[in-house]
């Protein structure tokens, strides 16, 4: 790394420290893996923390059933090349099992429904720690998160009564049936993640780079047509050069107009943009100003 990126070493050291602390303090951790860039970076950091050993935890994908095929293909290829264990839990099955109601509207999100599947999986596998790629710069409720975030047996976050967290001494002791959400890249910004991907030459699914895609123009956003989202006769449908800045559900993640086909070009665009990551791409965060806080209180990560 060059001098101008040496802060990435500090962030990397901090994340590896947290991952090792998680492995040492918990009996059964899992790493939440979606095939998005933040969780891909987490896997990369875990390899740095634990190789030449196998990872001391499985990867866990809470599969909404609304994924981008590119992200799923990347997930399977990565897991195969690493020889690590992947557990896939289906939100679709939770919906059937509990007769859950999908969110209404044109671009439904299964973000809130994921929580049922996650909590069931935590219980079934007796996971006591789930490592996630959430960052404090993403969203204002996340800006309040601890590195080790203690959740009760309903998975609930209690933001008014968080444990003190001093220096980098992490207290992972919890009551039976409670669990901890671990956030190793809390202090990374979106730009840090991209610079790290470039510096460490980490592979990403193709949809992070500019490609042509058929999209519905919805207000000021571009939503790809897919098996989940069919255009209506009244829709304005365009074929645009786009890339994805975040990868969530196909139903509620917007694409960004872009011609950036290399990491350098993507990073240059992210430096220039005046719109936040979630604001530009997530249709489901715009429902209310406390959408994320409310989801987290219910057990979302």
């Amino acid at each position: 790394m060059t001098h101008s990126t040496d802060y990435l070493h500090t962030l990397e050291d901090e994340a590896i420290y947290i991952l090792r602390e998680t492995a040492a303090q918990f009996e059964r951790p899992a790493l939440l893996f979606s095939g998005g860039k933040d969780s891909i970076v987490l896997v990369h950091l875990a390899l740095r923390a634990f190789r030449p050993s196998k990872l001391p935890f499985p990867l866990l994908h809470i599969d909404t059933g609304h994924n981008f095929p590119e992200a799923l293909a990347f997930r399977d290829q990565l897991v195969a090349s690493l020889g690590e264990r992947l557990i896939v839990e289906s939100v679709e099955e939770s919906i059937k099992k509990y007769n859950l109601k999908e969110t209404s509207g044109r671009f439904p999100s299964r973000n809130g429904l994921q929580t049922y599947t996650l909590l069931d999986s935590i219980q079934a596998h007796q996971f006591d720690a789930c490592i996630g790629g959430a960052r404090r710069d993403e969203e204002k409720a996340r800006a309040k998160e601890r590195i080790f975030s203690v959740r009760d047996d309903f998975g609930q976050w209690n933001p008014k009564l968080q444990r003190p967290e001093l220096w980098n001494i992490l207290n992972g002791k919890i009551q039976k049936d409670h669990n901890v959400r671990v956030f190793p890249i809390s202090n990374w910004t979106e730009l840090d993640v991209w610079n790290y991907i470039q510096t460490r030459k980490i592979g990403l699914p193709s949809l992070y780079f500019a490609h042509q895609r058929e999209c519905i123009v919805h207000q000021d956003k571009l939503v790809a047509t897919s098996q989940f989202i069919q255009p209506l006769p009244t829709d304005k449908v365009v074929k645009e050069w786009v890339r994805y800045r975040t990868v969530g559900d196909m139903t509620c993640t917007a694409a960004v107009p872009s011609r950036a086909q290399s990491l350098e070009a993507v990073i240059a665009e992210i430096i220039e943009t005046s719109i936040s990551e979630r604001g530009q791409t997530r249709l489901d965060d715009q429902v209310s100003e406390a959408a994320m806080e409310d989801r987290k209180k219910q057990g979302y990560f």
């Binding site: 050291d13 420290y17 030449p52 710069d137 204002k140 309040k144 910004t189 406390a290």
Partner: protein, 411 residues
């Protein structure tokens, strides 16, 4: 490019969140969509943005107009990256302020020019110094409400200077501000020509962080790397973080508590062999003589002195709603090693209003600060916090609630 981590502290209405909002806004670090949201929420008159809403992230905080827990904000300029911990001002939430202070290089103490130094200023200044922060900025805010009066600024400065002698800051910088309108935040204000120093942001961009630096080698084993595969049969590495000093391949070292001496046969960083590693870096060590070390074991230079005792004098910041109970067993987590501990006696408490010690009984309740004697069930291998901070700090944990109940800084 390096990163400066700073914390902002002050009274409930001194304008901390407004100051942070101003720093982010004037340095173009707020995304337009977030600004739109803030404008929508802002109950002020049209055109005026309530900058405090940028940092208050919880529903309850917005409802009450207060900060409950630390919010972390990130921004960068062409000169430096910054991490801001916006700390709560309410006394009730002091422990959250301590969480923010424990990872900060610098503290901004915000003072309302009309009110001068208050009990909370003193509390936060005490905590910052105690947690090892070396740099303080005393930011005297709301100068517009006192007519940008130089005397008022200088009186507060003199007041702080008179009282500060018991605090261990190495640098205190005084800046008159008006966060609401941006005077002396990013740019020098024309309203206060008498102020000859820098505006806040240029100061933060250039301040050189003074950390307690000891060259003593300290390393604790965090995780033993032992692949259970035939190919790696003989591999046994000790992963951990260099807490202080420099590790060198070939160097003679001593392991604690076994007190066995050996040498470092190999250092790996990211699976590549390196000849040395410095403070803050994660490495995997391989030791000579096929030793057996475990998580929490300490490694020093072979001839080094380290405090080794089960009776330890320490600063304690009490953080829990349940008061300290003398004689009750707690857990003490010293980085990667956890032992059982009792607080034997409270020696003296720190009077945060007077910035001096006072005699006290054995009572410590939430937000109290004291010097105590700890007795552990096994000896600790530690340093004074003032000398080697990363090997001189620990936390106390309640054995039944598992809450973190106190911060310890060894004397």
């Amino acid at each position: 490019m390096n990163t400066l981590k700073f914390i902002t502290a002050g009274n409930v209405d001194d304008g901390k969140s407004t100051l942070i909002g101003r720093l982010l806004y004037d340095s173009d670090s707020i995304h337009t969509d977030q600004l739109g949201l803030i404008q929508k929420q802002s109950k002020r008159q049209e055109g005026e943005v309530d900058l405090a809403l940028i940092t208050d992230g919880l529903r309850a905080e917005r409802e009450q107009g207060i900060t409950i827990d630390v919010a972390y904000k990130y921004f960068s300029t062409s000169k430096r990256k910054f991490i801001i911990a916006d700390a709560p001002g309410h006394e009730q939430y002091t422990r959250n302020m301590i969480t923010g202070a424990s990872n900060a290089d610098l503290i901004i103490l915000l003072i309302d020019a009309r009110k001068g130094i208050t009990e909370q200023t003193k509390r936060h200044a005490s905590i910052g110094a105690l947690m090892g922060i070396k740099h303080a900025v005393v930011a005297i805010n709301k100068m517009d409400l006192v007519g940008y009066n130089q005397n008022i600024f200088e009186n507060i400065m003199a007041d702080f200077e008179n009282k500060k002698s018991n605090l261990s800051y190495t640098q205190i910088t005084y800046i008159p501000l008006n966060a609401l309108h941006g005077d002396n935040v990013v740019k020098k204000s024309t309203a206060m020509p008498w102020y000859t120093g820098e505006a806040l942001l240029p100061f933060l961009e250039s301040v050189v962080v003074d950390k307690a630096t000891s060259n003593a080698l300290r390393f604790q084993v965090q995780w033993v790397v032992r692949p259970h595969e035939a190919h790696w049969h003989d591999y046994r590495g000790y992963a951990g973080n260099v807490l202080s000093g420099t590790l060198r391949a070939g160097q003679a070292v001593r392991l604690w508590p076994s007190q066995i001496t050996t040498h470092i046969s190999k250092i790996e960083r990211h699976q590549e062999e390196v000849l040395e590693a410095v403070m803050g870096q994660n490495v995997v060590l391989h030791l000579g003589n096929d030793l057996d070390a475990s998580r929490g074991d300490t490694l020093t230079e072979a001839a080094a002195l380290i405090q080794c005792s089960s009776q330890i004098e320490s600063w304690l910041c009490w953080l829990d709603t349940d008061a300290l109970q003398i004689g009750k067993t707690y857990l003490l987590q010293h980085r990667f090693r956890t032992v059982r501990v009792k607080v034997q006696t409270v020696l003296k408490t720190w009077d945060i209003k007077e910035w001096q010690f006072q005699e006290s009984g054995n009572n410590l309740k939430m937000n109290d600060i004291a010097q105590v004697v700890l007795r552990t069930n096994q000896p600790l291998f530690y340093d004074a916090f003032a000398e080697v901070p990363s090997n001189g700090n620990a936390i106390l944990i309640d054995e039944t609630s598992y809450n973190t109940v106190a911060a310890c800084m060894f004397l």
